[in-house]
Subunit: 215 residues, 2 copies
């Protein structure tokens, strides 16, 4: 892997795990066993790395949605697609969790962040509309809008909630592990449960079967 | 008002508006037009102020819940109580929104924060159980648990979501105003909408009428 990509991959992991505020460029250089000078050769500062990761996220998210658009017709494909989407957002959880910190500290990242929010909000609305137009859920327009807002809310904020709950566990139980896979599973199940009241009779058993596998 | 209480009230407002990381004890002394020395006479440092505000929140929240316990029987009282609770949490929105920052920076506040999470989680579960036992909602046990988790999630994280959305508005439209009353109203309506699929036939019209008043 090229050094530039190694820097980005390592930053992504460290930001997600420890929070943007806690990870410096020196820290990243240390992790990769390269000199700070080598890192600065590729990125001028921390905000250049952040900006590139925002672009990575939007590109991944869009590629994922385009793939989805041509495929999802039956309910199982929608739920699988929601799960993958949740996993993707979780990999980049720092974008949403540390948003206030980042935008206050690096106002020049605001436009990039705005693009992330715009795309994810649009995707949530599209997902709910597609569920309805494929007859998987049956909901009035007003309910569909509230569902879409709740889906965007849960997708973008669940990482912060998980971090909050993790901070309340005793140290031995693995607190600070903000990208805990169990928390991800719980968030996905909570998102799925939003659709349960609106599920069509045809697709009800399948949704219940998936939910039964989750915490 | 005593100086001590003035310091706490001012800190509460400033933390909510600007974020804990952005507000120093000097900033608070300035706001109140007192000397930093006078402030330090009452509070040793910023974390002592934060701890006292956590205690204030838990006391307010508990007082509110106890009052509720003896009164709420019919659905309108429950929805009113949820609205007041949302407003209270919003006043103290920094507790949840800035939790990760605060706990990493002031680990000695962790036990106080844990108490906040415990009490609010318990209150969400109790609220949903009371709705069910008063026949206002009809839900299976599993759905009741997911509702309670979603209610706790929305109550504690909506402030962060609002801040995120506010950060995406053009400056002129009032971004950075993290305690925007419209955002509070939207959050309350989203929380109410969680219960709509489970509402009893008897109480349905009342819930719909309240929701119709919200954005």
């Amino acid at each position: 892997m090229k050094t530039r990509d190694r820097i980005l991959t390592c930053s992504l992991e460290q930001f997600a795990e420890q929070g943007v505020g806690q990870v410096s460029t020196n820290h990243i250089a240390d992790c990769l066993d390269i000199s700070p000078g080598n890192l600065y050769h590729h990125f001028r500062n921390k905000q250049s790395i952040l900006r590139e990761l925002y672009l990575w996220f939007v590109a991944d998210f869009m590629r994922f949605l385009r793939a989805d658009e041509h495929q999802a017709v039956v309910s199982s494909e929608f739920w699988r697609s929601l799960e993958l989407c949740f996993q993707l957002v979780q990999r980049y959880c720092f974008i949403f969790r540390d948003a206030n910190f980042v935008i206050l500290k690096y106002p020049e990242l605001e436009a990039d962040f705005r693009e992330v929010v715009k795309q994810t909000d649009w995707a949530s609305r599209n997902f709910c509309n597609q569920l309805a137009s494929n007859g998987i859920i049956v909901a009035e327009e007003e309910d569909l809008q509230r569902l879409a807002t709740n889906l965007h809310f849960i997708t973008s904020q669940w990482g912060g909630y998980g971090a909050m709950r993790a901070a309340c566990l005793p140290a031995a139980a693995g607190r600070r592990q903000t990208n805990d896979p169990n928390n991800l599973r719980l968030g996905y199940a909570q998102a799925l449960s939003l659709f349960k009241p609106y599920i069509s009779a045809r697709d009800r058993d399948e949704l219940l079967a998936i939910l039964a596998d989750y915490p």
